[in-house]
């Protein structure tokens, strides 16, 4: 599929040294089953890693995310944001683990996974996990599985926006934090096809 230069390979192991910053971006478009398996080791003090991913499913796609973020050195920072929409009979699974080693003090690690389920047949399983062995850390994770907000939809429809358009807008705004620069149109088209 035509991924831009920002799209990282589905499988990867990364070691981030002191002062380095790793940015990973993933886009999974409708019709595509993917198994994304990455592990990142933050091995040098002050290393950073940021992962963003977006998925859209409308048929029988199987999308898997397996992400292990290992904080091995002090003062490292990591963020993960994975947003996606599951329609059709899609089967989506997110396994994310943050491990903070005993000496990795002053760690900041954040992980978020938000999912919207559009149809009866779609299935989402999310397992965001934290394993923390140091005390001076700021770690959080959040995961949601839900649907498009009915109040928002009503708001837009009461102002004359047709339902289909309103839903598209909602989905685009939900995805906007993870849409890579320069691919807005492509993703908008994919959202409209759902």
């Amino acid at each position: 599929m035509g991924h831009g230069k920002y799209i990282a390979p589905s499988q990867g192991q990364y070691q981030v040294q002191a002062g380095e910053v790793l940015n990973l971006q993933y886009v999974v478009l409708p019709g595509e089953s993917r198994d994304i398996e990455i592990s990142v080791d933050l091995v040098g003090p002050g290393a950073e890693a940021h992962i963003k991913a977006l998925y859209l499913c409308k048929a029988t796609e199987k999308v898997r995310f397996r992400i292990v973020m290992h904080h091995k050195a002090p003062g490292c920072k990591s963020t993960q944001l994975i947003n996606g929409i599951a329609g059709g009979q899609a089967d989506v699974r997110f396994d994310g683990t943050i491990v903070v080693a005993p000496d990795a003090q002053q760690t900041e690690a954040y992980q978020e996974n938000h999912n919207i389920v559009l149809t009866e047949e779609a299935k989402v399983v999310t397992k965001p996990q934290l394993e923390i062995y140091a005390d001076d850390v700021k770690c959080s994770h959040g995961a949601t599985v839900g649907q498009l907000n009915a109040d928002e939809l009503f708001y837009m429809r009461s102002r004359g926006i047709p339902e289909a358009e309103a839903r598209t807008l909602q989905m685009l705004s939900f995805l906007s934090p993870v849409i890579p620069e320069g691919r807005e149109e492509e993703i908008e088209a994919a959202v409209r096809s759902l």
């Binding site: 005993p102 003090q105 999912n115 389920v117 559009l118 149809t119 009866e120 779609a122 299935k123 989402v124 399983v125 999310t126 397992k127 965001p128 996990q129 934290l130 394993e131 923390i132 062995y133 140091a134 005390d135 001076d136 850390v137 700021k138 770690c139 959080s140 994770h141 959040g142 995961a143 949601t144 599985v145 839900g146 649907q147």
Partner: protein, 480 residues
Amino acid sequence: MSEDQKIIQAFTSGEYKEGFVTDVEQEFIPKGLNEEIVRMISARKEEPEWLLEFRLDALRKWQSMPMPDWAHLDMPEIDFQDIIYFAAPKKDKDRPKEIDPKLAETFDKLGIPLKERDVLAGVVAVDAVFDSVSVTTTFRKTLAEKGIIFCSFSEAVKEHPDLVRKYLATVVPASDNYFAALNSAVFSDGSFCYIPKGVRCPMELSSYFRINARGTGQFERTLIVADEDSYVSYMEGCTAPMRDEQQLHAAVVEIIVEKGADVKYSTVQNWYPGDAEGKGGILNLVTKRGICKGDGSHLSWTQVETGSAITWKYPSTILKGDYSSSEFYSVAVTNNHQQADTGTKMIHLGRGTKSRIVSKGISAGVSQNSYRGLVRMAKGAQNARNFSQCDSLLIGSRCGAHTFPDIQSQNPTATVEHEATTSKISEDQLFYCNQRGIGPEEAVGLIVNGYAREVLSRLPMEFAVEAQKLLQVSLEGSVG
């Protein structure tokens, strides 16, 4: 030693004051676990044939199961043949109706009133279990007037066999897991409670479990049935003597909540946690599950876990009835070498079901504290809703706090939210308190209590005081 470390040490070296042993004559059956032992337990309790069959079936299932190893625990090898599965205080032949004064004294020391006149009128009815048998159940008459059955499990088998047979193992089948199968084979005593239709239980019901004998395990079974539109609040407490050896506690709790009924189940778990070097302590391997069977039913779990060397416990609810709801409030404290892997499962089957999970973990010393939870939205769970919050507080740099949630959604109208944070008591918070003349230790107590407040406030009044004290003892004065 720096000031911080001193405070942490003072805070984490609180004594276990329930660690005494009662010197009472006891009878045991031989060590080991096989068909003969199971038959022996069953014969001793004069059980009907069907219950013996149930036990033997469970034993066969248990023998074919592997020991689970998925929990985030460093579990010692348990030699199941080296455990005495039944220990009971010998009854004084001359006064068979009376409670042995030594036992009464034991429970008195623990603050558990066995004589009804000792209690403020109509506050708490207690079923006290000492090793493998229930020694007494208070307020039975008062409760019987309302049609409420509250007695030991053994008595229930004799007096209400139909009810027991109808509900036993309907929520936790014998083959459910390794420890549930073990319990089903060798369970000794526990509490049975039945609230009839439309009855609001006038007092708190309570079970108190005490392990006393050496080399034994406690395997109690609790069955609570709340019939339509009834209400009951149930409390459970437990302690054990201080010993170098580890003792096994594998209980099963089953709760059936019928249409419109409301059950509140609270636990303050204070088993002996082992010494500061991690020697001894109770292995607390418990299966607790309730089913919101009827429409609009409600089940609430509240637990304060401060004891046990190892805790393996996931009180769960199956939300089967439409618009039924459930909550899980937990504070789990681990210190020294304690390990806890605890959490909940919320299985949403019915329409419009709601659940809420609030879990607060506090780890100190070199302990490991994990939250493990499952929220499942089945296909039929239209408009179901869950909210989970799991916070961890770390005290000291050598402990661990872990979160393992599992969220599964198969319904587009269901909403699941999960959030977790991990933090330590910040310098700022401490500084703020110190600045206002609150000493470091007191400040930590304040912060920990504030952190756990949301859960503590859910406990029945009788328990809330005890739980707050326990938190202080287990965690006095910690500075990160």
